[in-house]
Symmetry: C2
């Protein structure tokens, strides 16, 4: 698939700018790994919690195998899928590893790793954040709410560079996807700017 990233387009993001991957509210892919056991799921209920250092919240149902891996390993990745990954996002969000242990292979989820981190990342995303779980057992148990601090982040520089999105100058297949319900999404659209002092 021509829109999948190759290493040449991936560059690190300064940690205090990483929250901007999420600020405009895209649907995400969450992944985690413990030993050889790994999983990827979709999550729309994700938000920035802080920016310096960047922290995120994500809601993860108790039935998710990804959740088990996060609780075991203490780490997870938050990734920003693009229009090119729309079907993959719906599919990894529809099938549970608990029902089909071969989910990732069957769905042909294209994974890669960054140095120093044993967390599978999905090729073709516009951005990737690796988060260290900040344990809050009451939130996790009562609300399925997980908090993570971003410890590393990268973007596809064709669409996110110098701390900003550049959707209007990139291929439409690199636009972020924003979930409504079922298989229904919207792509991010056109820029709109206000003079901050006006």
């Amino acid at each position: 698939m021509s829109t999948l990233n190759t290493q040449q387009f991936i560059a690190p993001i300064a940690l205090e700018k990483a929250y901007r991957l999420l600020n405009h509210g895209p649907t995400t892919l969450i992944s985690a790994q413990c030993g050889e056991d790994r999983d990827v799921m979709a999550a729309a209920w994700v938000s920035v919690l802080d920016f310096n250092p960047s922290k995120v919240t994500v809601v993860i149902d108790k039935i998710s195998h990804t959740r088990t891996l996060i609780e075991k390993s203490g780490f997870f990745a938050v990734q920003i899928p693009t229009a090119a990954l729309l079907k993959l996002t719906v599919n990894v969000g529809s099938v549970s590893m608990k029902d089909d242990p071969n989910k990732l292979t069957k769905l042909k989820v294209p994974l890669f790793y960054q140095n120093d981190f044993n967390i599978p990342l999905v090729q073709g995303c516009a951005g990737w954040m690796i988060c260290k779980l900040i344990k809050e057992p009451h939130n996790q148990q009562t609300y399925d709410l997980f908090i993570g601090e971003v410890v590393a982040a990268w973007s596809d520089t064709r669409v996110f560079k110098d701390g900003h999105w550049h959707f209007e100058n990139a291929d439409n297949s690199l636009r972020t996807i924003h979930h409504v319900a079922g298989g229904h999404f919207y792509l991010i659209g056109e820029p709109a700017d206000v003079d901050f002092d006006s």
Copy 2:
């Protein structure tokens, strides 16, 4: 302003569908009131937490007067501003009531009320949710994170109806706005659908 709602376009949303106002990640306006004291602020760090009943999370800085009003009254509104309210959203997010007690009057924020609720709502939004604060002092103090349960919700039926957004059939001025940083936003764009079983 022609795009401001008039009462004829506002209809209640079933509470279990209210989360869909937020699911695609729009930037929001938060308002609260205690007695005659009221405030409106902008917030991008807002997420769905649950859907039945609909619950939300929102991050609100300690310097915000809106936060004081939420803590006093136990209620707040989460509203979905449209492109027509872009400048207003930036302005209410830039000026604090603590610096200018006449903020709402000076900025000419057009407010209205729904029966039974003493919370100011901003005209021209695409959706409005009134939330009852679920007190979680540790989250509020440590993370500036507030949890609310939606107790009433309405939409502008020109753009959200029957539990779904209809941006593609509405005027562009009714598109939701998605914040990146400073005065830089993106509008929500075009629909993208996947056959859920494909």
